[in-house]
C-alpha cells in the first residue's frame, strides 16, 4: 500500500467518540494514529487491544482490528495476539488503573519479555470510568471519592518499574504537548521490542489538573524537561535550568551556576541514567522527564525468539505429530 494512503484519517473509524469534551485521550488518539502512519502497516494488519477504563474505549475509534477486552489483562491478551501472528502491528491502550493496579502483573511481564508491542499507558492518576477513585499512580494526599481525606498510598512510577525490568524503550508524553506525544508514538511504533509509552493526560471530570504543575503556562516548563538524544539537559521556561551529576545521582542547577561542560548530555542508550531520569519528580527538586528517556534496539524480542526456537527445534528434532504419537514403547496387537 502506498505511503500516501496512510493518513491519520485512514486509521479513524466512524464510531462516535464518547470521551468527555476536554479529555486528554483525544490528543493521545491523534498521536497514536500518527504512530500508526509511521509504522507503515495497512490498517488490516494492525490490532489494538485495550482493557477496561475510559481510555480502553480507544479501539472502537480506530479503523483497525480491535479488541476491547477485560480489566487489566490487555498486555497478556496482546502478547497472545502478537505471538499468534507476529506480522501484525499490535498496540495496547491502557490506563493507570488498568496497567498498574489490576493489570500490574501482566504489564510487568510484558516489559520483561521485551515482546514487540506498542504499549500506551495513559496516566491521568485517577479511575475515570468508575467515576473517580484513586489509582496506584495517584499522588499522596490526592482527594478522590475513595480518598476523601487524602491518598496515603505512595505512588508508583511505571517507567522506573519498566527500567527495572530491562525495558528497551521508555518514553513519557503529556497530552498538552501534542507534537511531543506524536514524536513518541512514531518512535515507539518503529521500535522493535516493547515500546513503553506513558502519556500524562488530564481527566477534566474526576481529576482536573492532574498534571497542572506541568501544563501551567507560566511555570510548567520549570517542572519538566523534554529530553532529546545528544542534546544537553536544559529546561525551564527561559532555559535557565539544567541537570548535572551529583555523585551517583542527578541534581538540577541553574545554567548560570555551572560550567557548560558539566551539563549532562542525554544519551538514550544509557540504562543507569535512564533509570534516574525515569524517577525524577518535582518533590525531589527535579523536573519530570518527558520525551524518549531510554531506547535500545539490540535486545531480541520475545516473539522473534519464539519463532527462532520453533525453527531450531524443527531443524534439530524434526518430529511430525505422527512421530510424536509413536514415541516410547509401542507394540502391535
Amino acid at each position: 500500500m502506498a505511503d500516501t494512503q496512510l493518513t491519520k484519517k485512514y486509521f479513524a473509524s466512524n464510531a462516535e467518540v464518547k470521551w468527555c469534551p476536554g479529555c486528554g485521550d483525544y490528543a493521545i488518539m491523534n498521536a497514536v494514529r500518527q504512530g500508526m502512519v509511521a509504522a507503515g502497516k495497512p490498517r488490516d494488519e494492525v490490532a489494538i487491544v485495550s482493557g477496561i477504563g475510559c481510555s480502553s474505549r480507544f479501539p472502537y475509534y480506530m479503523e483497525t482490528y480491535g479488541f476491547h477486552t477485560i480489566h487489566g489483562r490487555a498486555a497478556a491478551i496482546a502478547s497472545g495476539v502478537k505471538v499468534g501472528n507476529p506480522k501484525l502491528d499490535v498496540w495496547v491502550i491502557s490506563g493507570d488503573g488498568d496497567s498498574t493496579a489490576i493489570g500490574g502483573n501482566h504489564f510487568i511481564h510484558a516489559v520483561r519479555r521485551n515482546i514487540n508491542l506498542n504499549y500506551v499507558l495513559i496516566n491521568n492518576k485517577i479511575y475515570g470510568l468508575t467515576k473517580g477513585q484513586y489509582s496506584p499512580c495517584s499522588e499522596m494526599g490526592q482527594i478522590s471519592k475513595t480518598s476523601p481525606y487524602g491518598v496515603i498510598d505512595y505512588p508508583m512510577a511505571p517507567l522506573k518499574v519498566a527500567m527495572g525490568l530491562g525495558a528497551t524503550f521508555i518514553a513519557r508524553g503529556l497530552d498538552a504537548k501534542m507534537k511531543l506525544s506524536e514524536e513518541i508514538c512514531i518512535r515507539g511504533a518503529k521500535h522493535k521490542g516493547f515500546s513503553m509509552m506513558e502519556i500524562y493526560a488530564n481527566c477534566v471530570i474526576y481529576n482536573d489538573g492532574a498534571h497542572k504543575q506541568l501544563v501551567d503556562k507560566a511555570e510548567g516548563d520549570n517542572h519538566c524537561i523534554v529530553l532529546r538524544n545528544g542534546e544537553k539537559m536544559i529546561f525551564g521556561n527561559e532555559e535557565q535550568f539544567c541537570l548535572v551529576q551529583d555523585g551517583f545521582a542527578i541534581k538540577a542547577a541553574k545554567v548560570a551556576d555551572v560550567a557548560e561542560a558539566d551539563i549532562l548530555v542525554h544519551d538514550e542508550t544509557n540504562a543507569e541514567v535512564g533509570t534516574l531520569l525515569a524517577g525524577m519528580r518535582p518533590d525531589n527538586g527535579l523536573p519530570i522527564a518527558l520525551g524518549i528517556i531510554y531506547a535500545i534496539e539490540d535486545k531480541k524480542t520475545y516473539d522473534d525468539m519464539v519463532y527462532e526456537q520453533l525453527a531450531a527445534v524443527k531443524a534439530k528434532r524434526g518430529r511430525s505429530v505422527d512421530d510424536i504419537m509413536r514415541e516410547g514403547h509401542t507394540w502391535t496387537v
Binding site: 464510531a15 477486552t69 497478556a76 511430525s320
Partner: protein, 622 residues
C-alpha cells in the same frame, strides 16, 4: 526350591507399589505396566503422589504409591484391593498393608526394617515377626543384602547399589507373573545402554545384574510356591503405546492444530496435576506447537484468547483453583465468541484442597463458574487414552461453534495410564472445514459483519486480523450484530438467548448416549469422566450376576446427549456415583426432574468397583 512352583492362571492381578516419594515408585510402576502391556495384557494404572515432592523419608506423609491392574480382558480401572503389595520400607507397609486383599501377597524389603525406621512410623515391634500380618502372605526379602551380593564385583558405593533394588523387584515380579525377561533387559538397554539418550553403562550393567538376581531369587527360593500366568487380552488390532491422560491431551493439542491447519497454541501456568501436560507439550516445538508459560493463570488464558483472536487454535491448561482464576477471561472468550479449549485436570478442592489427589468437583464450576448467563460445552474424558479424543473433539466443537469448550479430566486419568491405540494423522478427522475464516473473496459483494451467524450452528462469521479489508472491533461489552456496543435491552435479551441456544443446539448433533445393558430395568448407573471405568466394571459384573442394572457414560456433560432423558425414563431408579458431593446429580435432577440418587466419594481416590456394586445391591434391596 521353587522351580516347581505351581503355575496358576489368573484373569486379573492388582499390584500396588509403595515407598518413599524419592524411591522411584512411579518408574517401577510404569515399567511393570509396559511389561504387561507388551506381553498382551490390558492394563490400567494410577499413581498416587504425596503433595510434597520429597516429604521426610521414612514417614507416612512421604509415601508415594502406584497401583495397577493387569488382565487377560479389558481392564477399566487400576483395580480394587491389591492382590500384591510391594512395600519398600516400614512407612510404606504401615501406609498400605490395610488395603491388601485378605490373603494377598506382601513383598517387602526386610533390610529396611531397622529399629529406627520402625520407631519413626510407630511400630512397637517388627510387623514382619510379631504376627500382626497373619492374614497375608508376607515375603520379607533382604533386598539390600541380595542386591549388594549380586553387585559385589562392581565398583559402586552401597547407596548406588541399593537403588538397584527396584530392578531386583522387577525380576521377582517378572518371574512371579511369568513375563518375558527379555522385555525388561531390552528396556534397561534402551534407557541406560550405549544407544540411550544419556548412556549410563555402569547403571545398565548393575540394573541388569539386579534384575537377574531377582529372577533367580524367585526361581530358587522356597518363599514362593505359586506363580501366575495370564493370557493376552482381546484387544482391537493396531499399534499401541501406554499413555497418561496428560500426555494424551498434549499430543491431541498438536494433532488438532495440524488437522485444522492452524498453529496450535497453549497459554498456561504450572499447576498440579496439569503440569505434565504442559511439560510434554513444551517439547513439541518441532511440531509447531507454541507454548507460552505466562505469569499467572489469568495471563495463561488471556494469551490463549489473544492467540485465538489472531487465528491460532488456542488452548489453556489448568486445574481447579486455576480454573477459578480464569473465570472472567473464559467469559470473555464466550462473549467475544472465539474458539478456545480449556483443559481442566480436576483435583481435590475447594481452594488449594488436595492438589495431588483426584476429584470430580469442578463440574459445577465449569458449568456455572462465570458471571452472567454463560453456558459453554463441557466434555469429560473417561480414561487416560480418551483424553486424546476428548481434547481433539473439544477443539472441533470450539472451532465449529466459535465457543470456549471445557475438557474435564482429573488427577486419576491425567496421571494414570492405559494402553492407547495410536491413530495416524490421516485417520483423524479433518478440522479445516470448521475453521472457515471469513474472507472477502469468498463473499463477493458482501460486507463483513462480525456477529452475523450461520443459521444452523449459530456460529458467527469470523475474520482474523490480517484479512484484507475486514478490520473491525469486537469487545466484551454487549454488542449488536455488527459488533457495535449496544445497551439496548432487547438486543441484550436476544444476544443472551442466541448464545445459550448455540450451546443447546449442539446437543442435537452430539453422539447419542450408549447403554451398557438392557434399555430398561430397575437401576440405571450414570458415570461421567473418570468414574467410567469403575461403573463399567461394576455394571458388567452386576449384569453377569443377573441383576436388572444398566449403565450409561456421559462424555459430553453439557449439553447432555439428546437421548439421555428418554433413557432415564425407562428405569425405576437412577444412581450417579461421582467424586464430589453430587454435582452431576444436581444437574440431572434439574434437567430431567428425576430423583437421582447420588453416591459421593471425596477421599482423593477413584471409585472401586465394589463400592458401586454394594450401592446398587443396597438400592435393589439385596
Amino acid at each position: 526350591m521353587a522351580e516347581n512352583a505351581k503355575l496358576t492362571s489368573a484373569e486379573q492381578i492388582v499390584v500396588k507399589f509403595t515407598g518413599d516419594s524419592g524411591d522411584g515408585m512411579q518408574l517401577i510402576g510404569n515399567q511393570l505396566t509396559a511389561l504387561a502391556a507388551l506381553d498382551g495384557n490390558d492394563v490400567n494404572s494410577l499413581p498416587d503422589y504425596p503433595s510434597e515432592i520429597r516429604a521426610p523419608t521414612g514417614t507416612i506423609a512421604g509415601v508415594s504409591g502406584f497401583q495397577m491392574c493387569l488382565g487377560d480382558h479389558k481392564i477399566y480401572t487400576a483395580g480394587d484391593a491389591p492382590d500384591v503389595l510391594v512395600a519398600f520400607n516400614p512407612a510404606a507397609l504401615k501406609h498400605s498393608a490395610k488395603f491388601v486383599k485378605a490373603g494377598g501377597i506382601i513383598i517387602t524389603n526386610s533390610d529396611s526394617f531397622t529399629e529406627k525406621a520402625m520407631t519413626k512410623v510407630g511400630y512397637e515391634s517388627n510387623p514382619l515377626e510379631d504376627g500382626s500380618l497373619a492374614g497375608y502372605d508376607v515375603k520379607a526379602i533382604p533386598m539390600f543384602t541380595l542386591v549388594r551380593e549380586a553387585l559385589a564385583d562392581m565398583d559402586m558405593p552401597n547407596p548406588a547399589k541399593d537403588r538397584c533394588k527396584n530392578f531386583f523387584v522387577m525380576g521377582v515380579l517378572c518371574w512371579l507373573f511369568n513375563k518375558q525377561q527379555q522385555l525388561v533387559l531390552d528396556f534397561i538397554q534402551e534407557k541406560f545402554g550405549p544407544n540411550a539418550k544419556k548412556p549410563k553403562i555402569q547403571i545398565a550393567e548393575a540394573n541388569t545384574k539386579a534384575f537377574k538376581a531377582g529372577l533367580n531369587f524367585g526361581e530358587t527360593t522356597i518363599m514362593f510356591q505359586e506363580r501366575y500366568d495370564m493370557g493376552a487380552a482381546q484387544i482391537e488390532k493396531g499399534l499401541y503405546r501406554n499413555i497418561t491422560g496428560n500426555d494424551a491431551a498434549a499430543i491431541a493439542i498438536a494433532a488438532a492444530g495440524h488437522k485444522a491447519g492452524l498453529q496450535p497454541f497453549i497459554g498456561s501456568y504450572p499447576i498440579t496435576p496439569a503440569t505434565d501436560l504442559l511439560h510434554l507439550a513444551s517439547e513439541f516445538k518441532d511440531a509447531g506447537l507454541v507454548t507460552m508459560q505466562m505469569e499467572d493463570e489469568i495471563a495463561g488464558i488471556c494469551s490463549a484468547i489473544g492467540a485465538s483472536c489472531a487465528g491460532n487454535l488456542a488452548f489453556t491448561t489448568t486445574s481447579g483453583p486455576g480454573l477459578a482464576l480464569k473465570t472472567e477471561a473464559a467469559g470473555m472468550a464466550l462473549i467475544l465468541e472465539v474458539p478456545l479449549v480449556i483443559v481442566n485436570v480436576q483435583r481435590g478442592g475447594p481452594c488449594t484442597g488436595l492438589p495431588t489427589k483426584t476429584e470430580q468437583s469442578d463440574l459445577l464450576q465449569a458449568m456455572f463458574g462465570r458471571n452472567g448467563d454463560s453456558y459453554m460445552p463441557i466434555i469429560a474424558a473417561n480414561s487416560p487414552a480418551d483424553c486424546f479424543d476428548a481434547t481433539f473433539q473439544a477443539a472441533k466443537i470450539a472451532l465449529k461453534y466459535r465457543t470456549p469448550v471445557v475438557v474435564l479430566t482429573d488427577g486419576y486419568i491425567g496421571q494414570g495410564s492405559c494402553p492407547w491405540k495410536v491413530p495416524t494423522m490421516d485417520e483423524l478427522e479433518d478440522l479445516t472445514p470448521y475453521v472457515n475464516f471469513w474472507k472477502p473473496e469468498d463473499h463477493p459483494g458482501e460486507e463483513y459483519v462480525s456477529y452475523k451467524r450461520d443459521p444452523e450452528t449459530l456460529a458467527r462469521d469470523w475474520a482474523i486480523p490480517g484479512t484484507k479489508g475486514c478490520q473491525h472491533r469486537i469487545g466484551t461489552l454487549e454488542k449488536d450484530e455488527t459488533g457495535a456496543v449496544s445497551h439496548d435491552p432487547m438486543n441484550h435479551h436476544n444476544m443472551t438467548v442466541i448464545r445459550k441456544a448455540k450451546i443447546d443446539n449442539l446437543a442435537a448433533v452430539l453422539p447419542e448416549a450408549e447403554i451398557n445393558g438392557a434399555d430398561s430395568g430397575k437401576i440405571l448407573v450414570i458415570s461421567w469422566g473418570g468414574t467410567y471405568g469403575a461403573v463399567k466394571g461394576a455394571v458388567d459384573r452386576l449384569i453377569a450376576d443377573g441383576k436388572s442394572v444398566s449403565g450409561v457414560n456421559l462424555r459430553w456433560v453439557w449439553p447432555f446427549p439428546p437421548n439421555l432423558g428418554e433413557i432415564i425414563s425407562k428405569f425405576d431408579k437412577v444412581l450417579v456415583p461421582e467424586l464430589n458431593m453430587g454435582q452431576l446429580s444436581l444437574l440431572l435432577r434439574a434437567k430431567f426432574l428425576v430423583d437421582v440418587q447420588s453416591l459421593s466419594k471425596v477421599q482423593g481416590d477413584p471409585f472401586r468397583e465394589y463400592e458401586v456394586i454394594d450401592k446398587v445391591n443396597e438400592m435393589l434391596g439385596e
